[in-house]
Point group: C2
Chain length 157, copies 2
DNA sequence: TAGCGTCGGTCTCGAAAAGAGACCACCCTG
DNA sequence: CAGGGTGGTCTCTTTTCGAGACCGACGCTA
């Protein structure tokens, strides 16, 4: 149980990773973004053991990243992305950009194209104030409200 | 060995995840981006078992994401981000954005600010042609050269 | 030179997680 | 009633992980 306690740390990278950071979870979400909704489809597309898939889907539902429901015609179960889950898309696209750049010697296996446009989807890191593109070197960390709240809670508790 | 074979699939999300998708790897890289370079610093900052850290660092060095070298003053070992590793930053920032949005009830623990600017670093998904901002709904997958090369190789082999 | 601390790194061992595959109840269809 | 598909569970084996002792090399200092 030590590892799960990392989720208590005041860090917005660590906390998601405790949920998403394992062998299968992001792959399951990749499938979900590709339109997969059914248990058996996830299972056969990924080759994941069924019990493992069951664990992961349950955890994603717990965290309200996926929603489990009966299909509209009522004859099977569906796992669909919630709004919160949908917001994960930039993470997968950032991974894809890196994969294309560094693990695709023959070029991108799949283009992710803008609907009705010749362009491709790209993740960019930029300043939300001046709009300038940024890299890690341009970034300076600074304490935010979540950290102060965490310190206060620690002082009280 | 089944799981590692996922890296052979022609998918630029799957392939990086086989390397990055575990409990610790992205956390180690987060520390690296925060300036950590030394074995013991990674270990004590994260609380990761030493043998595990050793595995992960070795794998990251194998994949040329980190570079292992003697420090300039020669008295200790350093693990530094390569260019390839440096390019992972948007992934961590995309995770951080999601964490701020969905797992930080008290607000962001840390602001990632643009140096010499009031702004914050933000990851955005946009079309590289028309510049329009996009979500998962605006994206259409299309076969690329890497997929064709993979199919050809399969047909030959 | 003996003692001590720190460095990156290794080894062992018990606990936890993952993988495989059989098995299940349910529903529908022929 | 048989057959196939559904989501899901159970069991057993293998792999991975976690905790912590242990190691040699190095630098310092008494």
């Amino acid at each position: 149980m030590r590892y799960e306690q990392l989720a208590d740390l005041p860090c917005s990278i660590t906390r998601p990773l405790v949920v998403l950071g394992d062998r299968w979870t992001l792959l399951i979400l990749k499938e979900a973004f590709a339109g997969v909704r059914r248990f058996n489809a996830f299972q056969s597309n990924l080759g994941i053991p069924r019990s493992r898939l069951q664990d992961r889907l349950a955890r994603l539902v717990d965290h309200e990243i996926l929603v489990r429901q009966q299909a509209v015609d009522g004859d099977h179960v569906e796992y669909r992305l919630s709004r919160k889950g949908h917001d994960l898309y930039p993470i997968l696209l950032a991974i894809k950009d890196w994969g294309d750049a560094h693990m695709a010697p023959d070029g991108p296996p799949v283009h992710y194209r803008h609907r009705d446009c010749a362009g491709e989807a790209r993740v960019t890191l930029a300043c939300d104030c001046c709009g300038e593109r940024m890299t890690a070197h341009d970034v300076v960390p600074e304490a935010g409200p979540g950290l102060l709240a965490h310190v206060d809670a620690g002082a009280r508790g």
